[in-house]
């Protein structure tokens, strides 16, 4: 079909008094929501649940940073502190980050982006959400019973033999959530293979779809290994068999291999969808094609595949063989290359663009900067000799927070702002959106950059109390966390406000390309009223035209 030469900006709806019914109008009862098969409603269900877990995990982080503001362990007991950082890790990894972008934005957008009516298995999708909620509730029950103090990494034999906390219950919760992940991944893969609109070849797919496809492959192949690992830990804990405990003939390193075989690809589950989001936002707000589309797609596949081969870089000082360490280090350097390509390509997309700095773009630019720092510090810990000093210190903590929070969470917020009008039919207040973005960026750096310095100076991880010489850096970090928390709380308010404001969004407030923007905001239940047009080139943004304004179209009601 003809290419979409220009994406006209349709910011505000045509102002008619009663907008056409959307998926949000398709039943208002709680039951209609809890028994829905609509991928868009399921995405909203996920959005609400992960937000709840985000703030619970964030509460744990707040208490941690409060405690660490002073060297003495004076806010909570040793055991409570250990349970806090465990809760923070378990909740943030499994109940927030892993589902976040795929289950909210992947669910909402993948069918829209490929011109389909829904995912391949809509009922399986709903089951995924129920499994997620069930697993999450089990984890919360474990917390309520007294929590678990093993760290989110559950290293044996501490977790199997020595911890006096609710390890088995927590791991059952994780096991259940794992199946939610597997089913979501399965659904996405089959959807992308079988439900693309006619004419939508693989190399016309948005990078967001590529990213979710690759993420789904990882979900499907890595999560089962986590399932088995949790099963074996629970079995050892309940039956006292020596799978991992040397006192009974087991091997603690076997646990680490099994655990990290999943948990390293898991970080790519957390970052690839974020990269997909950034690849949608940057071309739109730079009004330019993404630089090197094919390389970007291949880089996604490269990250996903090589990412399965590097798990041993978490074990350089564990006692594993020298040969294994050498191989894992080399592969870890190699996996950095496709990520580097992506950063360079995003930056090059800005060159000779026509850049606007709406909130989504601020988040995307923040992602690129912070992911670059996080990725480069990953090279430090991939270097064998350096990792000997840096592993298990705050350097690693800073490294992974730069990627997961500076990267994935920022991308999540970028996605939230970018597709908020599409999903809700409302416009968020742009000024507040930008303020929050800046607050989060600044607060994040204030919180986590000092942690690189702490690690370089030898401050170990998971320490409740610490020697006085680390006080200043910890205090700086805790102060930064206040700013970061403020930044995270702001959107709660202005997004809620936007839901009640009268100002409605048009189909395409940002003038973006992509099939999802061809339908109304919010979309009808069946996604499209008219057959969508498959563009010739997925990111064919027009030359810069007249600047779009927020002013409503003629005849429309002002907000």
């Amino acid at each position: 079909m003809s290419s979409v030469a220009e994406a006209t900006i349709d910011r505000v709806g045509d102002g008619s008094a009663a907008p056409a019914p959307s998926y949000l109008d398709d039943g208002h009862s709680l039951r209609s929501w809890l028994t829905t098969h609509d991928h868009k409603r399921i995405a909203i269900l996920y959005a609400i649940s992960i937000t709840v877990f985000f703030f619970i995990g964030g509460l744990a982080a707040t208490l941690i940073r409060l405690e660490l503001a002073t060297p003495a362990g004076d806010l909570v007991s040793h055991d409570t502190y250990n349970k806090l950082f465990t809760a923070h890790g378990v909740i943030m990894v499994w109940l927030f980050l892993i589902p976040s972008i795929p289950s909210v934005f992947g669910n909402f957008l993948v069918p829209l982006m490929i011109g389909a009516r829904d995912l391949a298995f809509p009922r399986l999708n709903l089951l995924s959400w129920y499994l997620y909620v069930l697993g999450g509730l089990i984890v919360l029950v474990a917390l309520a019973l007294g929590g678990v103090d093993t760290g989110w990494t559950f290293y044996a034999p501490y977790s199997t033999m020595f911890s006096n906390s609710w390890v088995a219950v927590t791991l059952v919760g994780v096991f259940v959530v794992g199946f939610s992940s597997i089913l979501t991944g399965l659904n996405f893969i089959v959807t992308v293979h079988t439900l693309r609109a006619p004419g939508l070849g693989w190399f016309k797919l948005p990078l967001f779809v590529w990213a979710h496809y690759a993420t789904s492959v990882i979900l499907v192949l890595a999560t089962p290994v986590l399932a088995i690992t949790t099963l074996l830990v629970v079995a050892e804990r309940l039956l006292q068999i020596g799978v991992f405990d040397p006192a009974h003939g087991g091997d603690p390193l076997l646990f680490q291999h099994l655990f990290w075989f999943y948990s390293h690809p898991a970080v790519y589950i957390m970052v690839l969808p974020a990269m997909g989001v950034v690849s949608e936002i940057v071309p739109c707000f730079a009004r330019k094609r993404i630089f090197g589309y094919r390389f970007m797609a291949y880089a996604i596949l490269g990250i996903a595949s090589i990412g399965f081969l590097v798990w041993g870089h978490h074990m350089f000082v564990s006692g594993q063989s020298l040969a294994a360490s050498l191989v894992f280090s080399l592969l870890s350097f190699l996996v950095a290359i496709p990520s580097a390509i992506k950063v360079f390509n995003w930056t090059a997309t800005l060159y000779k663009g026509s850049i606007r700095f709406d909130a989504p773009m601020l988040y995307a630019l923040g992602f690129i900067g912070l992911f670059t720092v996080g990725g480069l510090t990953g090279l430090f810990v991939a270097s064998l000799a350096l990792d000997v000093h840096l592993t298990d210190t705050y350097f690693v903590v800073a490294h992974f927070h730069y990627i997961m929070v500076g990267g994935s969470v920022m991308a999540f917020f970028g996605a939230l702002h970018f597709w908020w009008p599409k999903a809700t039919g409302r416009l968020y207040p742009e000024v507040w959106g930008r303020i929050a973005a800046v607050l989060i960026f600044v607060g994040f750096n204030l919180t986590f950059f000092p942690q690189f310095l702490l690690g370089m100076r030898g401050m170990p991880r998971r320490y409740h109390a610490y020697p006085a010489e680390f006080h200043q850096l910890h205090m700086a970090s805790s102060a930064g966390a206040v700013v970061l928390a403020l930044g995270y709380l702001l959107p709660l308010f202005y997004f809620s406000y936007s839901l009640r404001s009268a100002c409605r969004a048009g189909a395409n407030p940002f003038g973006a390309l992509g099939i999802e923007w061809q339908t109304r905001s919010p979309p009808p239940t069946h996604n499209f009223d008219r057959t969508p047009v498959v563009p010739e080139h997925v990111y064919d943004y027009a030359p810069p035209g007249p600047r779009p304004t927020r002013a409503p179209a003629a005849g429309a009601k002002a907000s």
Binding site: K288, S321, T347, S383, R462
Partner: protein, 327 residues
């Protein structure tokens, strides 16, 4: 002595104040990485800021047709990082491998970690808790195991760390190059008082170290103690050359190549000795019946370390013996 140790010297904390023979190499590599990564990060950030300003909407400098022919530059910025990364890998790997090659004259110290303290024993039998005295300029080799969970022996001033794992020996060697006291941390989460599992390394001039070593209460050397256990536990009943029971000779065992019943061959190291004491059926020597009973439950970790020290004293270790403590 438990609790947080106050140090007079800040030498162990400044990241330029390394105190071991490997610290200068580490600091050089680290500085090089900071320079390289800092340059790249700065480059990317400057580019983003510069493009954001120069190509902002309304500046009229945009050209949507730019950046269409990408292959050459893509290949360039794929291959260039690849080459640099391989270089970095080789550099770091080279330094790392050296950590696995303790000098033959390294002083052995035996370490047992437990929740939540470090127990150390010198060759002459002198014991320490949460402290390690070492001489300046002399290689020291730690042979470590844990009694319970996984711990990790971390001395930031030395730029060294090694997990201490139950059920096996892991090793760490260093040569202290500065006098003073340096922090020892446990770096692998091990339970309630993980953050209290602190200690210090005390580096003394060699003469003072020798005085310190000899000044402890009179007790047998570790090897002597090991010999006493060897007799008391009945090992010599079978392994003595005069015994009527056909059992492998243990003289100079460490470092020797051993042929096993199932056709495998291995070099006897501390882990092999430990396994043979606790799980004798695991690696049976070729030509011998698997009749050795297990001593699991009858020997403590310190006992096993003492027996190892005794065996080591019965024969010269093989030159360039790879640090046998790692599998």
């Amino acid at each position: 002595m438990s609790g947080i140790v106050d140090l007079a010297s800040d030498a162990g904390l400044s990241w330029l104040g390394g105190a071991s023979s490997v610290a200068p190499r580490y600091d050089l590599l680290f500085a090089a990485m900071v320079l390289l990564c800092g340059t790249v990060a700065l480059g990317v950030l400057v580019a983003i800021v510069a493009f954001s300003i120069r190509y902002r909407a309304g500046a009229g400098r945009g050209d949507a047709a730019a950046g269409r022919r990408t292959r050459a530059i893509e290949i360039a910025w794929t291959v260039t990082p690849l080459v640099i990364f391989i270089g970095l890998f080789v550099w770091a790997a080279h330094d790392f491998v050296a950590l696995y090659r303790p000098p033959a004259d390294a002083l052995p110290v035996y370490v047992v970690a437990k929740q939540w303290m470090w127990k150390l024993q010198h060759r002459n039998g002198r014991r320490e808790i949460n402290e390690l005295h070492v001489p300046l300029g002399q290689p020291v080799r730690l042979l470590m195991t844990s009694q319970d969970a996984i711990h990790s022996f971390f001395v930031p001033a030395f730029r060294l760390k090694q997990d201490v794992v139950p059920g096996r020996y892991t090793g760490l060697w260093f040569t202290a190059t500065k006098l003073g006291e340096f922090r020892l941390f446990c770096a692998e989460y091990c339970g309630t008082e993980h953050s209290q599992m602190l200690g210090r390394i005390v580096v003394l001039p060699p003469a003072e170290y020798a005085r310190w070593l000899g000044s402890g209460s009179e007790q047998p050397s570790l090897a002597q103690y090991g010999f006493a256990r060897f007799r008391a536990l009945g090992c010599s009943g079978c392994h003595d050359p005069a015994s009527t029971v056909h059992a492998p000779s243990l003289e100079g065992l460490l470092g020797r190549t051993v042929h096993l019943q199932d056709g495998r061959t291995l070099v006897a190291d501390e882990n092999y000795v430990r396994d043979s004491i606790l799980v004798p059926g695991k690696d049976v020597v070729a030509g011998f019946a698997p009749v050795m009973p297990s001593f699991a439950g009858q020997v403590s970790e310190e006992d096993i370390q003492a027996l190892v020290a005794y065996l080591r004293s019965t024969g010269a270790p093989a030159p360039g013996d790879p640090q046998g403590a790692r599998r």
